[in-house]
């Protein structure tokens, strides 16, 4: 190519790259600069008193559940318990925004959300007591198994929501993940698939400040975790995770959006893990009392109770009733958990495949023979 060939070279302005245009307007995707709050604001007026009281009762029950489960670890009745004390507003709201046909995708810390959704409180602890991994039928309850490998449940939620939409079913999936879990590649891939497919799924990040011992500052440099949404082309919402009505409202809006075909939303709930990571963890190694104390001041149960009593929506009798209901639940749970689980060794082999392979049948036979010999040895 030479100069001669180029028409009007001096006045030439290059064509812009033909394909480029923003795919979505970024502005509406950005979260508010502050976590959204309801308690202590006029927004409380917009809530039905029944919902507020229901939230309160569930928070009280949830707090009790956490305490009871932690106590069960001390009695050796649970192998481990990752408590959600301090995060009950997220747990309760996540369960209550769901329609019956919707799906919940919990992590190991979200037993409580499963219980609030209706799962038997003892069944929800099956995994954590050292019994078989899922103590309930996920399809019956539309609760995926409590997931341990971090963020791996998120693509499942996307796939399920996408499948439901393809089938024409009105189903939304709500997937829970921690602040630490947002660093995993699966978080990224799941959110991207969800946005590209416009899948009816809502992601709730419970930012409780820590991934075991690692504080948020070592986990991310982002303005907030909700800001990650913009990179996928979905809206990001930031909410006070201890403000139960606020979480309920923000999640509810995201669910509604997903339900009407508006695609996924990323919600970051700012909260705090009051207990150690699990009963086996020693939180004093990595954080001080003052921080914990500051968060205790912003306790989800307490701030809702204050608001409701202050507004005359809840009286002493109501509070007592909630506490009693929680106590009864704890008593039933203790009783259930004090019974030894009965596990059948043969079950090791029955569900690896639809039908055991010849090799597994032989191994089951071997184990049966061993156990029979043991019994024989014992009787002799």
């Amino acid at each position: 190519m030479t100069v001669q060939e180029l028409p009007g070279a001096a006045s030439y302005r290059p064509t812009p790259p033909p394909a480029w245009k923003p795919r979505t307007d970024p502005a509406p995707l950005l979260p508010d600069p502050e976590p959204y709050r309801v308690l202590g604001t006029g927004a409380v007026d917009g809530f039905a008193p029944e919902l507020l009281r229901r939230l309160h009762a569930e928070l009280v029950r949830g707090r009790r559940y956490n305490a009871q489960a932690t106590a069960l670890t001390k009695q050796g009745r649970l192998a481990v318990y990752p408590s959600s004390t301090g995060q009950e507003a997220c747990q309760v709201a996540a369960a209550l925004v769901l329609e019956e046909r919707d799906w919940l995708f919990p992590s190991y810390r979200d037993t409580l959300a499963a219980v609030v959704r209706g799962l038997d409180p003892a069944a929800a602890l099956t995994l954590l007591r050292g019994d078989w991994h899922t103590g309930y039928d996920p399809r019956e309850h539309r609760i995926a198994p409590l997931c341990t490998p971090l963020a791996t449940q998120l693509p499942h939620a996307v796939g399920l929501a996408h499948a439901a939409r393809l089938k024409g079913d009105d189903v939304v999936a709500l997937a829970l993940v921690g602040d630490g879990g947002t660093s995993e590649g699966d978080f990224h891939e799941a959110l991207n698939f969800a946005a590209v497919w416009q899948a009816p799924v809502v992601f709730l990040v419970q930012n409780n400040g820590f991934a075991i011992s690692v504080p948020l500052a070592k986990q991310t440099a982002a303005p907030s975790l909700a800001h990650k949404a913009v990179g996928y082309g979905m809206p990001g919402r930031l909410v006070d995770g201890n403000d139960a009505p606020a979480v309920h409202q923000v999640l509810g809006e995201a669910m509604a959006r997903a339900r009407r075909g508006g695609g996924p939303t990323l919600v970051e709930a700012v909260t705090y893990r009051i207990d150690a990571h699990t009963n086996a963890d020693d939180a004093t190694r990595y954080r001080g009392d003052t921080e914990v104390a500051a968060w205790r001041d912003h306790d989800p149960v307490r701030i809702l109770e204050r608001e409701l009593t202050g507004r005359g929506l809840l009286d002493e009798a109501g509070i007592r009733a909630a506490a009693e209901e929680a106590e009864a639940m704890a008593a039933r749970l203790r009783e259930r958990m004090n019974a030894d689980a009965v596990l059948v060794p043969d079950d090791l082999f029955t569900q690896v495949y639809a039908e055991p392979t010849p090799q597994l049948r032989a191994q089951a036979e071997q184990l049966r023979a061993e156990l029979a010999a043991e019994v024989e040895g014992d009787t002799r």
Partner: protein, 351 residues
């Protein structure tokens, strides 16, 4: 395996196709495509997803035409993320679909290992059968196609070491169809290994009169012989058949067993053959150390020790990362190496 065949029978193809039962040359790639096509036509729950599987029809064209026939919702070009592909497929299967996932190449399945090991292989067991995952992961594997790095791995050892998966690999055009139909029909997750260098291998086959769907877990004797047994699968089956032909000149009648299914493993067929011949060589492309051959040789020895005239030998790829195209012929187990191994089966003892 009743589960394996439960869905493959019954039902008619949604689109009317002129019946033409005459066998004519077809490639393995075509048979695989046809298996997916027929499964999709029979069962609306079958969905295909992966990188470039839609508009392009896959880099090996194995999904050619599926998006056109069934729409992009049934055959979907996904974003480029293998863990995401398999992870969303898990969710789809949780909702009752039967996803068929394509990994573009063996080495590009590695990002999906966590989903495969921690979820795909365990969901049924974890939920005590409440939530089986009927999904297929198709993985083109193996070398011999002149592929640059990461395009020729034989990764079957990883899958075999993961309980809860079926691991299947065809060596013929017929089996490609039959086994893939069986894999899609299975209520268990199946890793379906497709020997890349056999994609364009041809044989006479009629898409309208395909063989009955194979149950998963049965090996087949491809050639009978009394001198020794060659135990092999996938890309090494043609090598062993050629070696068996060449061995006749040396006076050996070699039996060739095509495993077809690495999991479940067909001890019965394999051991019956080895008990007959008394000698065995396991042949595969995968590295020797830690590869499938160790398991196979060990279990044969356990079960047939007193029938063995010689130790079970292995002919495998060297214990090295897959080499560059210019050197791959030195790495791949060929006819000569198989015959060398046969020669080392302690024939003197007999004479």
């Amino acid at each position: 395996m009743s589960g394996a065949t439960s869905r493959a029978t019954g039902g008619t193809t949604a689109t009317a196709v002129k019946p033409d039962r005459a066998a004519r040359p077809a490639t393995m790639a075509q048979a695989l495509q046809r298996a997916m096509r027929d499964a999709m036509a029979e069962d609306p729950a079958v969905h295909v997803l992966g990188e470039d599987v839609g508009t392009l029809g896959g880099v090996f064209r194995v999904t050619d035409g599926l998006a056109k026939e069934f729409g992009e919702d049934r055959c979907t070009d996904t974003p480029l993320a293998e863990a995401g592909i398999l992870g969303t497929a898990v969710g789809m299967a949780m909702y009752g679909l039967r996803p068929v996932v394509e990994m573009q190449f063996d080495a590009f399945a590695y990002p999906a290992f966590e989903q495969l090991i921690s979820h795909v292989s365990r969901m049924r067991n974890r939920t005590r059968g409440a939530m089986p995952l009927p999904l297929v992961v198709r993985v083109p594997y193996g070398g011999g196609i002149g592929g640059v790095e990461h395009h020729s791995d034989s990764s079957e050892a990883y899958y075999m070491a993961t309980p809860g998966l079926h691991v299947v690999t065809p060596a013929t055009v017929e089996d490609a169809y039959g086994l893939l139909r069986a894999a899609i029909a299975s209520d268990d997750p199946v890793v379906f290994l497709e020997p890349k260098r056999l994609y364009w291998s041809k044989s006479d086959w009629s898409p309208e009169a395909p063989a009955a769907v194979e149950p998963i877990g049965r090996a087949v004797v491809r050639r009978t012989g009394r001198s020794a047994t060659l135990i092999t699968y996938g890309p090494s089956v043609p090598v062993c058949l050629e070696a068996a032909e060449a061995a006749r000149a040396e006076g050996w009648e070699l039996e060739v067993v095509d495993l077809r299914s690495l999991v479940p493993f067909d001890d019965e067929t394999v051991c019956a053959s080895v008990r007959r011949t008394g000698r065995a060589v396991v042949v595969h492309e995968s590295t020797g150390f830690g590869g499938p051959g160790g398991e196979i040789a060990a279990r044969i020895t356990e079960q047939c020790f007193h029938h063995l005239e010689a130790p079970v030998l292995r002919v495998a790829g060297f214990d090295i990362p897959y080499p560059p195209p210019m050197l791959e012929r030195h790495h791949l187990p060929g006819v000569d190496r198989v015959l060398d191994a046969v020669a080392r089966l302690q024939w003197e003892a007999e004479n």
